[in-house]
C-alpha cells in the first residue's frame, strides 16, 4: 500500500481497514446479485419474447400477463412477497428448497431475476417485431426453417436493435439492487447503512457508496458503448 494511503487511513476514524472490508463485501454481494439476475433474466427472456410474438393467444397471453404484472408493480413489493412469502408456503421447510431460500440472497435473486426478465422480454419483443419484413421474406425465400430463421436472421438483428434499451435495463437493475439491503442482505447499500449507524456519519457513509455505484455505472456504460460499436460496426459511416 502506498504510504500516503496508509497515512490517510490512519488519520480518520471511519475509513479504517474493517470499514473498507465491509464495503468490499458489499461490493461483491451487489455484483454477484446483479450479474446473476441479469444472466438468468436474459436466459428466461429470450424464449419468453419469442412466445410473446406468437399469434396464438394461448402462448402469448400468459407471457403478456406475466410481464404486465411484473412491470406494473414496484420491485420492492415483489421482493417482499417472495422473501416473506416463500417461508409461508406449506411444507417448504421440510424440503431441500428451504436450505436455499432460507438465506436472503436467493429470494432476492429470484425477485430480481423475475423482474428483469419481464422488462427484458418486452425489450426483445419490441426488437423482434421491428425486424424489417424483407429480411424475413428473404430468409423464407432461401428455404430457411423457422428455427434457423430465428437463430440466424431474426435474433441477431433484434440484438442489434435491442442493445441500447437493454443497457438502460442493466443500469436500472444495478440501481434497483440497492433494495436488497432491506431484506437483511449486506450489499453495497447495506454496508453503507451499517457504517452510517455505527458512526452516525451519513455523508461519509452514503457519499462514498454513491461514488462506488457511480463508478460501476460508468463502467457498464463504457462496456455497453463498446458492445454497441461492435454490433453496429457495419453501419458506421465510412471514414476518410
Amino acid at each position: 500500500m502506498p504510504e500516503f494511503l496508509a497515512e490517510l487511513l490512519n488519520q480518520n476514524d471511519i475509513f479504517t481497514g474493517p470499514t473498507i472490508m465491509e464495503y468490499w463485501g458489499g461490493l461483491v454481494t451487489t455484483v454477484q446479485l446483479v450479474f446473476l439476475s441479469l444472466i438468468l433474466g436474459l436466459l428466461v427472456a429470450v424464449p419468453l419474447a419469442i412466445m410473446r410474438t406468437s399469434k396464438n393467444p394461448l402462448i402469448n397471453g400468459p407471457v403478456w400477463f406475466y410481464t404486465y404484472i411484473f412491470r406494473g408493480t414496484p420491485l420492492l413489493i415483489q421482493l417482499y412477497i417472495i422473501y416473506y412469502g416463500l417461508a409461508q408456503i406449506e411444507g417448504i421447510q421440510q424440503t431441500f428448497w428451504w436450505d436455499i431460500f432460507r438465506e436472503a440472497f436467493y429470494p432476492a435473486l429470484l425477485a430480481f431475476t423475475l423482474n428483469t426478465a419481464a422488462y427484458t422480454t418486452e425489450i426483445i419483443r419490441g426488437a423482434i417485431v421491428a425486424t424489417p419484413s424483407g429480411e424475413i421474406e428473404a430468409a423464407k425465400a432461401y428455404g430457411m426453417s423457422w428455427a434457423l430463421r430465428m437463430r440466424r436472421i431474426i435474433l441477431p438483428s433484434a440484438a442489434r436493435r435491442g442493445v441500447q434499451a437493454y443497457s438502460n435495463e442493466v443500469i436500472f437493475m444495478l440501481h434497483a439492487s440497492a433494495i436488497a439491503s432491506v431484506v437483511t442482505l449486506v450489499d453495497l447499500t447495506g454496508a453503507a447503512r451499517n457504517i452510517y449507524s455505527r458512526f452516525y456519519a451519513p455523508f461519509d457513509a452514503f457519499i462514498f457508496v454513491a461514488l462506488l455505484y457511480m463508478a460501476l455505472t460508468f463502467m457498464l456504460v463504457f462496456a455497453f458503448r463498446k458492445l454497441e460499436n461492435y454490433l453496429l460496426q457495419h453501419q458506421r459511416p465510412v471514414s476518410g
Binding site: L76, A192, F206, A210
Partner: protein, 234 residues
C-alpha cells in the same frame, strides 16, 4: 371481500399518502426538468455545465442511496445549521426532516433529471421557423415560450413524461424504507404482525397495478388530444 384484519383503513390512508407523494414529486420533477432543459439549451457554459453535472450524477447513483443520504444527511445538516444559528445569533430554529419531504425531494430530483432529457428533445423538435416567426411578430421571449414553444413541444414530450411517471409511481414504494407510513409500510407491518405476507402485499400490488394501468389509459387519452392537429401517416 377480503378480510384485512382491521388494517383496511390504515392501508387506504397509506394509499392516499402514496398518491400525494407521487403528485408532489411529479410537480417538482416537471419544474426541475423544465429548468434543466432550458439550462442545457442555453448559451451559458456555466448553466450547461451545472445541468450536465446534475443529470450525470443522478443517473449514476441508485435512488435508495440518494434517499438515505437526503433523509439521514438532511437531518444532520439541519441540526448543524440549527446549532450554528443558536450559538452565533441566538436564533432558536429547528426543523424535523421528515420522510415525506425527503421522499419528495429525492424523487423530484431524480425524475427532474430524466424530465430534463425528455424536455430537451421536445424543445429541439419544435421547428425553428415557428420561433423565428414569433420573434418576427414581436413576441417577447416569455410569450414565445408559452404561446408557441410550450404547446408544440408538449406533443413531443408527452410520451416521455408518461414513461417517467410510470417509473416514478413505482419508485414511491422506496420511501417506506425510510419510515414513511405509505401503503407499503402498513402492509409490511401488517404482514409481519399477522404472519400473512400474501394477504397484505398482494392487495397493495393490485393498487399499484391499477394506478399504473389507469395512468396508461389517461396518458393515451392525453396523447390523442395533444396530437389532434397532426395528420398521422398510417
Amino acid at each position: 371481500m377480503i378480510d384485512l384484519k382491521g388494517y383496511g383503513p390504515a392501508l387506504l390512508e397509506g394509499a392516499v399518502v402514496t398518491i400525494e407523494l407521487a403528485f408532489f414529486s411529479l410537480a417538482l420533477a416537471l419544474v426541475l426538468g423544465l429548468v434543466g432543459a432550458s439550462a442545457k439549451l442555453s448559451k451559458s457554459r456555466v448553466a450547461i455545465g451545472i445541468a450536465t453535472t446534475y443529470t450525470t450524477l443522478i443517473r449514476g447513483v441508485p435512488d435508495l442511496v440518494m434517499m438515505l443520504l437526503f433523509y439521514y444527511g438532511g437531518q444532520v445538516a439541519v441540526n448543524n445549521l440549527s446549532d450554528y444559528l443558536y450559538d452565533a445569533y441566538d436564533i432558536d430554529f429547528f426543523f424535523q426532516f421528515d420522510p415525506f419531504i425527503s421522499g419528495v425531494i429525492t424523487i423530484g430530483l431524480i425524475f427532474g433529471a430524466y424530465m430534463a432529457e425528455t424536455f430537451r428533445g421536445a424543445f429541439l423538435a419544435v421547428e425553428s421557423g415557428q420561433i423565428e416567426a414569433a420573434r418576427a411578430y414581436g413576441f417577447s421571449q416569455w410569450r414565445t415560450f408559452h404561446r408557441i414553444i410550450l404547446p408544440q413541444m408538449l406533443r413531443h414530450a408527452l410520451p416521455g413524461i408518461g414513461n417517467n411517471w410510470q417509473v416514478l409511481l413505482k419508485t414511491t414504494a422506496l420511501v417506506s424504507i425510510i419510515g414513511l407510513t405509505d401503503m407499503v409500510r402498513v402492509a409490511e407491518e401488517a404482514a409481519k404482525a399477522e404472519r400473512m405476507p400474501f394477504h397484505f402485499f398482494i392487495p397493495v400490488a393490485f393498487v399499484y397495478l391499477s394506478l399504473t394501468a389507469g395512468s396508461e389509459l389517461f396518458i393515451k387519452w392525453l396523447n390523442k388530444r395533444a396530437n389532434v392537429g397532426v395528420v398521422q401517416g398510417s
